[in-house]
Protein backbone atom coordinates (compact mmCIF):
# COMPACT_ATOMS: atom_id res chain seq x y z
CA UNK A 1 0.00 0.00 0.00
CA UNK A 2 1.36 3.35 -1.03
CA UNK A 3 0.14 6.71 -2.27
CA UNK A 4 2.20 9.42 -3.92
CA UNK A 5 1.41 12.94 -5.08
CA UNK A 6 4.04 14.23 -7.47
CA UNK A 7 4.65 16.55 -10.39
CA UNK A 8 6.90 14.04 -12.21
CA UNK A 9 5.61 11.45 -14.63
CA UNK A 10 5.41 7.77 -13.64
CA UNK A 11 6.34 4.51 -15.34
CA UNK A 12 3.67 1.79 -15.21
CA UNK A 13 6.08 -1.12 -15.72
CA UNK A 14 8.47 0.12 -13.08
CA UNK A 15 5.73 0.65 -10.49
CA UNK A 16 4.11 -2.69 -11.29
CA UNK A 17 7.46 -4.50 -11.08
CA UNK A 18 8.14 -2.94 -7.67
CA UNK A 19 4.82 -4.31 -6.38
CA UNK A 20 5.37 -7.85 -7.69
CA UNK A 21 9.16 -8.17 -7.26
CA UNK A 22 10.22 -11.33 -5.42
CA UNK A 23 6.64 -12.51 -4.94
CA UNK A 24 4.84 -15.48 -6.46
CA UNK A 25 1.47 -15.03 -4.74
CA UNK A 26 0.22 -12.41 -7.21
CA UNK A 27 -1.70 -13.76 -10.20
CA UNK A 28 -3.30 -10.56 -11.45
CA UNK A 29 -2.21 -6.94 -11.73
CA UNK A 30 -4.65 -4.31 -13.00
CA UNK A 31 -3.41 -0.82 -13.75
CA UNK A 32 -5.48 2.24 -14.58
CA UNK A 33 -3.83 5.25 -16.15
CA UNK A 34 -5.75 8.48 -16.60
CA UNK A 35 -4.51 10.88 -19.26
CA UNK A 36 -5.21 14.51 -20.19
CA UNK A 37 -7.48 14.59 -23.24
CA UNK A 38 -6.99 17.27 -25.88
CA UNK A 39 -10.67 18.15 -26.24
CA UNK A 40 -13.09 18.83 -23.38
CA UNK A 41 -16.77 19.32 -24.18
CA UNK A 42 -15.83 20.43 -27.68
CA UNK A 43 -13.11 22.86 -26.61
CA UNK A 44 -9.48 22.31 -27.60
CA UNK A 45 -7.25 22.39 -24.55
CA UNK A 46 -3.67 23.57 -24.33
CA UNK A 47 -3.15 22.43 -20.74
CA UNK A 48 -4.68 20.97 -17.60
CA UNK A 49 -3.59 22.24 -14.18
CA UNK A 50 -4.13 20.13 -11.09
CA UNK A 51 -4.35 21.78 -7.68
CA UNK A 52 -4.56 19.75 -4.49
CA UNK A 53 -4.72 20.03 -0.71
CA UNK A 54 -1.30 18.88 0.54
CA UNK A 55 -1.63 16.64 3.56
CA UNK A 56 -5.31 15.91 3.14
CA UNK A 57 -4.69 14.48 -0.33
CA UNK A 58 -2.29 11.85 0.96
CA UNK A 59 -4.52 11.13 3.97
CA UNK A 60 -7.63 10.73 1.81
CA UNK A 61 -5.88 8.57 -0.80
CA UNK A 62 -4.62 6.34 2.03
CA UNK A 63 -8.16 6.05 3.40
CA UNK A 64 -9.47 5.12 -0.07
CA UNK A 65 -6.70 2.53 -0.44
CA UNK A 66 -7.36 1.06 3.02
CA UNK A 67 -11.05 0.77 2.11
CA UNK A 68 -10.14 -1.21 -1.03
CA UNK A 69 -7.95 -3.57 1.02
CA UNK A 70 -10.83 -4.06 3.47
CA UNK A 71 -13.16 -5.02 0.62
CA UNK A 72 -10.92 -7.21 -1.57
CA UNK A 73 -8.04 -9.61 -0.87
CA UNK A 74 -5.27 -7.46 -2.34
CA UNK A 75 -1.61 -8.39 -2.21
CA UNK A 76 -0.49 -4.88 -3.11
CA UNK A 77 -1.75 -1.54 -4.39
CA UNK A 78 -0.51 1.86 -5.44
CA UNK A 79 -1.98 5.27 -6.18
CA UNK A 80 0.08 7.98 -7.87
CA UNK A 81 -1.55 11.31 -8.75
CA UNK A 82 0.26 14.06 -10.54
CA UNK A 83 -0.20 17.77 -9.78
CA UNK A 84 0.82 20.93 -11.61
CA UNK A 85 0.33 21.82 -15.25
CA UNK A 86 0.11 18.96 -17.74
CA UNK A 87 -0.17 18.90 -21.54
CA UNK A 88 -2.80 16.92 -23.48
CA UNK A 89 -1.70 13.28 -23.72
CA UNK A 90 0.16 13.45 -20.40
CA UNK A 91 -0.40 10.94 -17.62
CA UNK A 92 -2.48 12.23 -14.68
CA UNK A 93 -3.14 9.29 -12.38
CA UNK A 94 -1.98 5.72 -11.92
CA UNK A 95 -3.82 3.14 -9.85
CA UNK A 96 -2.55 -0.43 -9.46
CA UNK A 97 -4.30 -3.32 -7.73
CA UNK A 98 -2.58 -6.70 -7.37
CA UNK A 99 -4.31 -9.85 -6.17
CA UNK A 100 -4.15 -13.62 -6.46
CA UNK A 101 -7.19 -13.53 -8.77
CA UNK A 102 -8.27 -11.26 -11.57
CA UNK A 103 -11.75 -10.23 -10.44
CA UNK A 104 -10.48 -8.81 -7.15
CA UNK A 105 -7.80 -6.86 -9.01
CA UNK A 106 -10.27 -5.49 -11.58
CA UNK A 107 -12.90 -4.54 -9.03
CA UNK A 108 -10.43 -2.98 -6.62
CA UNK A 109 -8.81 -0.84 -9.34
CA UNK A 110 -12.24 0.28 -10.56
CA UNK A 111 -13.28 1.07 -6.98
CA UNK A 112 -10.06 2.97 -6.26
CA UNK A 113 -10.69 5.22 -9.26
CA UNK A 114 -14.36 5.83 -8.40
CA UNK A 115 -13.55 6.69 -4.80
CA UNK A 116 -10.48 8.74 -5.66
CA UNK A 117 -12.58 10.83 -8.04
CA UNK A 118 -15.20 11.68 -5.43
CA UNK A 119 -12.99 11.88 -2.32
CA UNK A 120 -9.42 12.98 -3.02
CA UNK A 121 -9.00 16.77 -2.87
CA UNK A 122 -7.79 17.52 -6.38
CA UNK A 123 -9.21 20.20 -8.65
CA UNK A 124 -8.68 20.46 -12.37
CA UNK A 125 -8.44 23.73 -14.25
CA UNK A 126 -8.50 23.54 -18.02
CA UNK A 127 -6.70 26.05 -20.19
CA UNK A 128 -8.26 26.27 -23.64
CA UNK A 129 -6.24 26.74 -26.82
CA UNK A 130 -7.12 30.48 -26.73
CA UNK A 131 -5.68 30.80 -23.21
CA UNK A 132 -8.95 30.89 -21.26
CA UNK A 133 -8.87 29.07 -17.92
CA UNK A 134 -11.88 27.34 -16.38
CA UNK A 135 -12.36 25.04 -13.42
CA UNK A 136 -13.74 21.63 -14.29
CA UNK A 137 -17.19 20.95 -12.82
CA UNK A 138 -17.69 17.78 -10.81
CA UNK A 139 -19.67 15.21 -12.76
CA UNK A 140 -22.85 13.76 -11.36
CA UNK A 141 -21.85 10.50 -13.09
CA UNK A 142 -18.78 10.26 -10.84
CA UNK A 143 -20.98 10.41 -7.75
CA UNK A 144 -23.20 7.69 -9.19
CA UNK A 145 -20.17 5.57 -10.07
CA UNK A 146 -18.88 5.79 -6.50
CA UNK A 147 -22.36 4.97 -5.15
CA UNK A 148 -22.25 1.63 -7.04
CA UNK A 149 -19.99 0.27 -4.31
CA UNK A 150 -22.48 0.85 -1.48
CA UNK A 151 -22.04 2.61 1.84
CA UNK A 152 -18.70 2.40 3.58
Amino acid sequence: MAVRVQSEDFDISRESALLTAGRTDIGAVVTFTGLVRGVSDGTNLSAMTLEHYPGMTEAELSRVEAEAHARWPLQASLIIHRVGTLAPGANVVLVIAASAHRHAAFEAADFLMDYLKTRAPFWKKETSADGHGSWVDARESDGKAAARWGAD
Binding site: A120, P121, F122, W123, W135
Partner: protein
Amino acid sequence: MTVRLLYFAWVREKLGRTEEVVTLPATVATVADLMAWLAARSDNDQEVFSRVGVIRAAIDQTHAQPSQAIVGAREIAFFPPVTGG
Protein backbone atom coordinates in the same frame (compact mmCIF):
# COMPACT_ATOMS: atom_id res chain seq x y z
CA MET B 1 -11.76 29.67 19.30
CA THR B 2 -9.05 30.40 16.76
CA VAL B 3 -8.80 28.30 13.61
CA ARG B 4 -6.87 28.30 10.33
CA LEU B 5 -9.03 28.40 7.20
CA LEU B 6 -7.76 27.09 3.87
CA TYR B 7 -9.29 27.69 0.43
CA PHE B 8 -8.83 25.79 -2.81
CA ALA B 9 -9.62 26.04 -6.52
CA TRP B 10 -12.28 28.62 -7.43
CA VAL B 11 -13.12 29.23 -3.78
CA ARG B 12 -9.52 30.40 -3.33
CA GLU B 13 -9.68 32.49 -6.53
CA LYS B 14 -13.01 34.15 -5.66
CA LEU B 15 -11.91 34.99 -2.13
CA GLY B 16 -8.51 36.14 -3.37
CA ARG B 17 -6.66 34.36 -0.60
CA THR B 18 -5.17 30.94 0.12
CA GLU B 19 -5.63 30.89 3.87
CA GLU B 20 -6.37 33.00 6.91
CA VAL B 21 -6.63 32.64 10.68
CA VAL B 22 -9.94 33.67 12.26
CA THR B 23 -11.17 33.94 15.83
CA LEU B 24 -14.74 32.70 16.11
CA PRO B 25 -17.48 33.64 18.58
CA ALA B 26 -18.76 30.77 20.72
CA THR B 27 -22.03 30.78 18.77
CA VAL B 28 -20.27 29.28 15.76
CA ALA B 29 -20.54 25.56 16.52
CA THR B 30 -20.84 23.72 13.20
CA VAL B 31 -19.49 23.89 9.65
CA ALA B 32 -22.80 25.43 8.56
CA ASP B 33 -22.54 28.03 11.33
CA LEU B 34 -19.04 28.88 10.19
CA MET B 35 -20.14 29.29 6.59
CA ALA B 36 -22.96 31.63 7.67
CA TRP B 37 -20.56 33.61 9.83
CA LEU B 38 -18.04 33.90 6.98
CA ALA B 39 -20.77 34.83 4.46
CA ALA B 40 -21.76 37.81 6.61
CA ARG B 41 -18.31 39.38 6.40
CA SER B 42 -18.44 40.88 2.89
CA ASP B 43 -20.20 40.68 -0.45
CA ASN B 44 -17.37 38.54 -1.74
CA ASP B 45 -17.62 36.12 1.17
CA GLN B 46 -21.40 36.10 0.75
CA GLU B 47 -21.02 35.06 -2.87
CA VAL B 48 -18.90 32.05 -1.91
CA PHE B 49 -20.20 30.89 1.46
CA SER B 50 -23.91 31.21 0.72
CA ARG B 51 -23.50 28.34 -1.74
CA VAL B 52 -24.19 25.79 0.97
CA GLY B 53 -25.05 22.93 -1.37
CA VAL B 54 -21.93 23.45 -3.44
CA ILE B 55 -19.03 24.32 -1.15
CA ARG B 56 -17.45 21.34 0.61
CA ALA B 57 -15.55 21.42 3.88
CA ALA B 58 -12.85 19.41 5.59
CA ILE B 59 -11.95 19.54 9.27
CA ASP B 60 -8.34 18.68 10.01
CA GLN B 61 -7.95 17.09 6.58
CA THR B 62 -11.06 14.90 6.76
CA HIS B 63 -14.27 15.53 4.79
CA ALA B 64 -16.93 17.14 7.01
CA GLN B 65 -20.70 17.55 6.69
CA PRO B 66 -22.39 20.96 7.25
CA SER B 67 -23.86 19.71 10.53
CA GLN B 68 -20.51 18.61 11.89
CA ALA B 69 -19.19 20.31 15.06
CA ILE B 70 -16.00 22.31 14.62
CA VAL B 71 -14.99 22.28 18.26
CA GLY B 72 -11.28 21.52 18.63
CA ALA B 73 -10.55 21.96 14.92
CA ARG B 74 -7.10 23.30 14.05
CA GLU B 75 -7.63 23.59 10.29
CA ILE B 76 -10.84 23.91 8.28
CA ALA B 77 -10.76 23.90 4.48
CA PHE B 78 -13.42 25.03 2.01
CA PHE B 79 -13.40 23.96 -1.62
CA PRO B 80 -15.59 23.02 -4.60
CA PRO B 81 -16.52 19.38 -5.27
CA VAL B 82 -13.32 17.53 -6.12
CA THR B 83 -12.43 16.77 -9.74
CA GLY B 84 -9.25 14.68 -9.66
CA GLY B 85 -8.49 11.37 -11.30
